[in-house]
Structures are given as structure tokens and as C-alpha cells.
Amino acid sequence: MTMKPAEPTGAVLVIGGGIGGIQASLDLANSGFRVYLLERLGAIGGAMAALDKTFPTNDCSMCILSPKLVECGRHLNIELLTNSELLALEGVPGAFIATVEQKPRYVDIEKCTGCGECAGVCPVRLPDAFNRGFSTRKAIYRLYEQAHPPAYQIDMNACRRCGLCARTCAAWAVDLSMEPVTHRLEVGAVVACPGFETFDAARIANYGYGLFPNVITGIEFERILSASGPTRGNLRRPSDGRMPRRIAWIQCVGSRDIHRVNNGYCSSVCCTSAIKEAVVAREHGCPDLEATVFHIDIRTHGKGFERYFDRARNEHGVRFARSEIHRVFQDASGDLILRYPEGGAVREEVFDLVVLSTGMVQSAANRELAARLGIELDEHGFCVTDTLSPVDTSVPGVFAAGAFTGPRDIPETVMGASAAASRAAELLSRARHSSTRSRKYPPEKPFGGSRPRIGVFVCRCGINIAGVVDVEAVRDHAAGLPNVVYAVDTLFACSQDSQRMIREAVSEHGLNRVVVAACTPRTHEPLFQETLREAGLNKHLFEMANIRDQCSWVHQAEPGNATAKAMDLVRMSAARARLMKPLAQTSVGVERSALVIGGGVAGMVSASALADQGFGVHLVESSGRLGGNALRLRSTLDGSDVASFVKGLSERVSNDPSIDLHLGAQVTDVAGFVGSFRSTVEEADGRRVEIVHGAAVIATGAEPHTPSGFLYGLDPGVLTLPQLEERISAGDPVAASCRNVVLIQCAGSREPGRPWCSRVCCSESLKLALEMLDRNPGIRIYILYRDIRTYGLREKYYLEARERGVRFLRYDPDDPPVIERGDREGGAGLRVTATDTVLGERFTIDADLVGLAVAVVPSGSSRRLAGLFKVPLDEDGFFMEAHAKLRPVDFPTDGVFVCGLAHGPKTIDESIVQAGAAAARASLVLCRDSIEAGGTVCVIDSAKCSGCGICALVCPFRAVEIDAEEHRAIVNEALCKGCGLCVASCRSGAADLGGFTDAEIHAMIGSFTSGNAGR
């Protein structure tokens, strides 16, 4: 329970502009809090901006990150403080004062349009740190091409103060006289997501990093693969620019290493990251590229990662070699020789390129930040958090997420950030909407089918467009087009001046459609639409032609053709504009309560977080008791007391007046949609009640797999790990007096039928092994495993277990351990036979007890619930989130969220984090009075609809349904995302997309093909 300050400040300081900080900022700002987002560098984006692709979906990292950058950068309630450092934090939770120093950028962010002319003239060239020195940049530069804010900055350490940039800048944005500024920010809470650094590979001299040019780090390799990187995505090795044919990855560089460097932890992401790099390299590189990953264990414990690993091996031909590489040699050609033991001999192999999978480490800067915040760090510099309150730091009111709290991948970081946002919102719920701003617009002018009066604004973008495209000619071409009553060119269409000019032109010339020919609508459309709204026009009366990216940039060498194409694009835009209509938005009221399904830890955490944020909650648990799977757990690997945690949480949930508990109940029907679901709950006594709720959280957990084989169920000495834990907890005398215990890993996981890694079993096995050792020091414990996956900071328990004599024997899945009844007299004699692949020897253990690390399998109720909520399950039967990376608790269906084991196997702390994240995401719905629907959504012409239902079948958002009575498709505007799939699939032309109607697109094509006919 949170102690809430009486009158907190409704603002939050978020530290770190990586994906974690961005997510926390957006979640907070979108749920009614003002956010100061602090970033040390000149632009947000963090580590993710430097990645090429992300696993396991191989999405382009920048492509999925970029919309978030734009949203963050444009958000009315997020104040971006780049080049800034926290100096001090004073005060109490709910009312902190943060002192922040912002270093001068020497470029006015408001004025700079990002045209890049300044960098063109800058005479200073220095290695580009973002591209890890594989390319150069100027002293006036932008961190990376898609950086946000898009404004340039000057690196004063390199600047020669020649003033060329200032003189070149047409927007008068360069200001060399800028001074540092100190901000004193009143905030109620702090979310720290300052991220990580990669391990400095030069610290391990054996690999020759820094000496051999073709030994590079993973992140450097990412830059080489990246389409926006130094080689434009062409796979080239540094020494000679040759395309490498043989690439080796060396894992655990700086991780799991207590000998060469004191980093005893596992960096968690490197295995899957290396697999991704290998797969992508094979796609980019030559077809016969040989990719070899040298590793200790392959740790693909994340959701979908094991399949990814399987595909890499089986489909992409990536070779995995279980060998620790001790040294790399270089030959005269720059090729690299790796020596490694194989089958008792030492093998030598030559590679063109060696990629070092360097681990995550904490920087000195982060340590200093922690000191200023007053928060506690562990021996490696990671922020200390409690397992059962995993985003709380040692300082109340300061929350932390992401790799700052331990090695984390992107979805873990995103979930942590959302969870931290939820914690902050719980603390500050009384101050929601107290510090935020909102915009007021004039009423829209009546439209009434008037003749189109189009204004065309052609942007010069400094000389960015005008240097190639004949902007005047394009403007004149536009002026001659039908219905164009005003055409003008502007220096920078996106400047504040131009916005005023557009507003004035709208009223002066009675414009009712606006076309801007400039850059991409992806980044700039919202700005101009805002201007239209300010001018009293519906924002959908706007159209953009991208004559920069699509003309002046790509056809730089052919100005004539670039100009002709720009004219074509403008003509097409005007043709579309002629048909544009205002699109109405309608408001749908929001019921400010949530339905949480599942009374396990995830469900309870989510419910209590939502209640703490001030929302009503209906918590439905199908059994008669709260606690779920955690009832079987006594403690965690690190010794946290799960039992009393669950007890406390259950009491808190039971006693909270805003939580309506439904025990022994089932959700039997779901109707409605985001903001106003109407669900039917069948209570324990058979009564059916209808619950109206704005959002739903599915936290229905998972189940342990019941193993077949291994004599399970046939011999009392063969137990599942949960059963074994119960025995140990109960002080079972047999367990206490055992001499030999065998724990078999992957009993039911990572095999056909259940091809996923159950993630928790290795840690659980270690937990039990250590506990049994504590109780019975004479016991001999054998852990039969395939890969030990004690990822992250759990690795230290693996070390401890080994030190304390636990025997780890690796078996081959093709030759699994065999359990027979032993012939030993007395007791439950079991004989376990297996082959240790490390030593290549067959061994037999006479065991008193055999513990099976059984798989975590989806809950039996998942399929039914998925049907009710129209949300998808993945191929394994777990709930499938909207996006594996950036929307890890959302569904494509708005207003429904998932957390805990229902989403996939995870540990209790991970469940708690995800539950917090689900609460944060649900609160974004619940904190609003209404949801805007309509606009760019599908419209069905029922006169044309034949009710074939294909639109409903293909809609990924379940926004289309067939009315059984009328036999016509109906679109739920509140759910429709305007993706257009239904439009494309409708043969009858009955589905049309508002703002992108068939008629509009037809007109564009028509105006293109008819050349200058429009004149």
C-alpha cells in the first residue's frame, strides 16, 4: 500500500530518453501527468536507436521506435530536456524539487528545422560516436538521422567557431552564445531509466579488440547491418571492406566472467541478440555466409526466443558451438583464427569477422546519478530493487526500470517503465490532470459541400528541397491546378512563421483544403493538422506531398526529373484534396473501472495498482481463493518471502473498498468495447451479474505441465518441482534424509509440442538445490540440464550452487535421462541413467528423489477467454500481445491487457512488473472522460455490402462485425484503427477508409496518369 501525500505535484521527472524513459513518459503524460524527460545526449532514442533489427520478430528497430520518438517529442505534456543532467533531488515523495542542468546546444530547437545545411558547410569532421566510429560526422550534427528533437547541435569540443553554420542557417537557429541553464523542477515522483553501457571489450585483451580491425562488438555489428548505418546496411568488414563469408560470435564477453572481469552476472540478451545478428547477417550477406555462435549456454528464455533459436539452427543454418574461446589470432590478411576445444582436441578455425557479444554494464555516470538520487546500487552498479516490489528503489517516490535495474531486454524495459509509471501514478493519483495543459481550438467552419478552394504551400526546406527541385516551378504548376486558389512557396513550411502564414491564408483566401508539399507526413502531418485546427478547419482537410524524401533527396542528381516528379506529386495531392471531406470524431464515454480476471499475484497486483490510481476494480477469480500459482511458493531464489507477500496482498485486495471481489466466479460473456465493456460474470452461487467496465486485464495465469514418462505418477520418488517444494516446505522427512537427489531440467519444455523454454525452471531448481543443501549439507544433488538459464543477476546462484557441490550434467535432448526403479533395498530407489555431453560419458545415479522441472503450460481457460475478448493466442496457447517489443501488455483489441503467466512463463517479480504495466496501460483508458472515435476509420456503404464477412475475418482489431439481422458489415469506430485491410479485401467496394477513400486514391492515380491534364 502506498502512503499518499496530501497534495502531491502532478508532474514526474523521467530520467533517460531511451525506450524505457520514453515509455514511462508517454504512459504518464497520457494518463494526466506532466512529464519532464531528461536526456543526457542531444536526442532521445537510447540504445534502441542504434540497433538494426529487434528479436524475435526481426522488426526494424528504428521503424518501431520512430513513432514513439515523434509522439514523445510532440506531446503537449512532455517537456524534453536534452543535454541535461540531474544535479540534485530534494524533498519528499509527492513534492520533490529536482535541479537539472541543461548544457547549451548552440542551436535553437524552436527555430531549427533539421534541414542539415549547417552540417553541409561545417569544415570539422570527426568520428561519429553513434556509428561507433565507423563513419564521421561534423561538429554541428544530429545524433542520428531520425533523431528527436530533429534540431542539430554543436559539439563545442570539436567546433572551430568559424561561424559558417550560423551564416548558412536560413532559419537563424545557430546561436554560439548559448549558456548552460539550470532548471528547478517541481515533481511528485521520479522514474529513472538511465539505461546501460556495453562492456568495453578492450578490457579482455585475448580477443584483440581494438588491435584487430575485424574484431568488433555486437553493437558495432548492428550499426554495420543498419540501413541508416555507416555502410547503409551493406555487410562489410572494417579492415578491407570485403563482405565477410565466415563470421564468429563470441558470447559472454564481459558477462558470466568472474575471472577476467568481475561480472558474475549474465547479460541476458546477448544470446538472442547474437542469433538475430547471425540471421540478419545471412539475409544481408552472401547466401553461403557461415555464421557460428560460440557460447557457454544458449539462453533463449524469452517469449518466442526458443523458436527463434530453432529457426536459426534449422532454417537459417546458423552453427552453434558450445565452446569458450580464450583467444583470437589474426593472420596477415586480417582474417581471424579461433582456437577452441572440440571432442578432446583443439580445433582451429579461420573467420573473416569476429563479433564479440559484449554484456551490459553500468556506467560511472549512472553511479553518479544514483548517488545524487540517493538510491542504493548493488556491487555491479545496478539499482537495487526488491524482488516483490521490483520497480521501487530504496528512495520512496523514486522508481526505476530498464537495464538500470539489471540486464533487461526491450519488452522487459518497456514493461518496467510502464510499471514504474503506474507506481508514480499511484503515488500522485490525487494530482492527476493538475499540471497538464490542453489545447483549445476555434469551432470548425461549416463545410456544406462548398466548392474546393485549395491552398498549396510548397516548402523550400532551406536549400534542402530548393537546391534540387525548382520550387517556383512546382508552385506555379500548383497554382494552375483545378480548384487551387492559392499557391505559395515558403522557406520552411514547418516554421512557426509558416504556420501563421497558413492560418492567414485560410481566412484570407477562404481555403477549405490545404496541401503542403514538403517532407514526410510521418513526422510533420500532426504539426500541420494542428495548424488547420487553429485555423478552424477540420484536420482531415490536409494533404501532404513528400517532395523532399521522394524528390530532392532520391533524385539529387537529376534536378529536372526531380522537379517533374514534385509536380506530379503535388498534382496528385491536389486531386485528392479536391475530394477530401471533414471527418467527424465522436466521443464515447468511459466507465472508470476495470475488470481484472485472475486472482493470482499478477491479477492482485494489477487490481491494487488500479485501485491505488483511483479506479474501481472488479476482480474475478475462478477458484475460491486468491493467490494462484504463488500459493505453492514459499520463497524466491533470492530468499524473498513469497508466502507472506501473497498473504498481505490478498488481505489488501480483499479489504480495499474500491475492489469488488468475485471469488469462484467466471466471466461468461463480453460485449461492448474499450471504454464501455459489458461483461457477464457468473458468481459462485450461479447468479449472473453484468459488469460495466472501461478496460480489462487478463491475468489468468498458467499451469504446470503434467509430465508423462520419467516414471512420474508411477513411482512416489518422482516429483514435479512444485511438489518437491511443497515436500521441502512441509519438512518432509524423506526429503530431509535424502542422499542423492536428481533434478531433471526441461521436462516437457523445449521439445516438440511444447517448444518453448519455461524460463523459471533453472532458477527454481537452483532454489530447491540450495535449500536442500542448507537443510541437509550431506546431500548430493545432480542437476541434469540442456542449458542452464540463470539469466541476469540469477547467475550468482548458479555460481554458488557449483561452489557448493551441486553437480551439473548436461544431457542431449536426443538422449534424455532414463529413470528406472533401482534395485537398492529400502526407500524409493531410483536409477537415473544419462550421458554427460561435456565429458562424453554415460553415468548412472542412484537417486532417492527425482525432481522434474516441468513445463509451464497455458491455462485451460485461455482459449475461452480469448474468444470472449476477441484477443489472439500465440501458437503455444499463451495470450499474444499486440507487439512483442513495444506493446508487451496490450492487445490489438483496445482496452484489453494481459499480464503474468497468461502471457508466458515468467518469475514472480516479472509477473509483478507486468501486472504494474498492465495497470498503467489500463489507466490510460480509465483516466479519460471519453474516447474519441471516428476520423480515419472504415466506413461501410451498406447499399453495396453483401455481408460476405471477409472484412470481419481480416480485421486485426476486431472492429468489424456482420449484423446477423441486416446481413451487413458494421464498423465499431472506437475499435477501428484505419489500417485499411477491410477496404482492400472488400470486392464490393462497400468498405471505404475515411480520408483515404477509393475515390480520392482513384483521383490521385487519374491525375498522375493524365499528366498535365488537370490544368
Partner: protein
Amino acid sequence: MRNPFVPIPMTVERNRVETVDGGIRTLTLSFPADADRGAFDFVPGQFAELSILGVGEAPFGIASSPAEGGLLDFTISRVGRVTTALHHLEPGESVGLRGPLGNGYPMSELEGGDLLLAGGGFGFSTLRALARFVLKQSNRSRFGDITVVFGARSPGLLLYRDDLEEWGERRDVRLAVTVDRGDGSWTGLTGTVPDALRRLDIDAGRTTALVCGPPAMIRHTIPVLAGLGVAPERTHVSLEMKMKCGIGKCGRCSIGGRYVCTDGPVFRLADLENLPGEFR
């Protein structure tokens, strides 16, 4: 012989919004060529085809009286491509016109008797032409009592507000304006055109009824007129129908052996009753 498919070029003089939703507008057109103006001889009830080359052509009743100095009004409801393009015309722009087409109201028969003009929606346009013609000072004396009934779905969809206002103030015309559904500020009649007709007190023996409107209105109006005692021989109905060529060739406006475009659009109810029951 003149090619009947070649339109007369006309110039847009005015483009007025008639209804609050902007869905109906009235275009006022003038003849740039005197010869064309001189040759354009029409009676109320006739129609013309308006066209924009490359966009299309559509028939519209002439909404102005012949006695208006060479200016022609056309009231256009925006329903498709052609009507949208016509709505977008601005003064000074050009539009094609073929006409006058059709037979028009039987003016000689009307003289001397009472007139009952009943119109609904934008079908009222040719009745407006007729009303303006008969109410013109120089013509008024040739007609008896004149009653005008005009109905629209809602107050916002009423047309020709200036005319309605003027007629409402005149003593020599009885005006009944009705709307299907009123709004807060509507104080006039509510109900359909047949509803309004039922309340009328007319001298059926002297009256000639002229009806124009959508098919449903006509269907319901005819029995009411019969109830009032207006003989089918003295009831004239102007049909709204799909036409293309306007000159009795293209075949689509055939009703029985008649073509609406050349034999109509105004039909004596007595004749209409002998025709197949289409278009009614």
C-alpha cells in the same frame, strides 16, 4: 437541323444555397448569345439538361418563370457526380444546356380557373416557375384563386424562402407550407403535403391541380385530390424520372407507350391512369 445533343453554352450568374445542409442549391444562368436567348421559348413545367462536358449531363426542371428576362433558375440537389460539379460552379463559369424539353404545364387550360399547386421537396421547382408566372402582376388577372402547397422534410430543407415570404404576404395567393418534422423554432404546419391538402377548402369544380414531387408524395396526393373532388382530367402530375437524352430516343423514361421526356413530364392524371403503374 440542329444537332439535338449539342448544348447551348450558358453562363452562371448566381449560385445560391437553398437548404441549411447545403444539399440543394439554385443556379441562375444567362445566355451569352442573344440568338440563343431569343430562341429559348418555354413554358413553366418544362425542363432542360444541364451538363459539364467530361462530367455528365442531368435533367432539371426550369425553376424560373418565362417572364424573367432571359435568366433561368435551376434547383439542384447534390446526389452524385454531375450535381456535385454543378454545385461547385461559380459565377462567370460556363455550363451546357439543352432545352427546353418536355411539354410543360397546360397553360391555356389553366387560364380562367382556380389553381392548386402541390409540390414536395425539390420537385417543387417547376411549380415555383408556374407560381411566379401566374402571380406576375401582368398575368395574375388571367387566373382565379391560386393555392400553393409546399412541403419539405424539415424546416431547414425548405426552398425559395424569398418567394415563400413574398407569397405569404400577398393576398391573392393562399400559401400552405408544411414540414414532415418541425424543429424547435418551427411554428408552421407539420405533416405531409397530402395532410396539408386534406385541410384545404377549395372549389373543386373550378380547380385545376398541378402536382410535382417524389413518387411517394404523388402516390399519396392523388387520392387526396380525388377526395377533394378534383377530377382526374383537371389534375396534372409532373413526374420525376430518370432521363438521359431528353428527346425520346434513349428509351429509359418509357412508361407504356409514352416517353416522359417528350410526352411529359406533365401528364394529365386521367391519361396517367391508363398507363402502366410505373413511376407513380
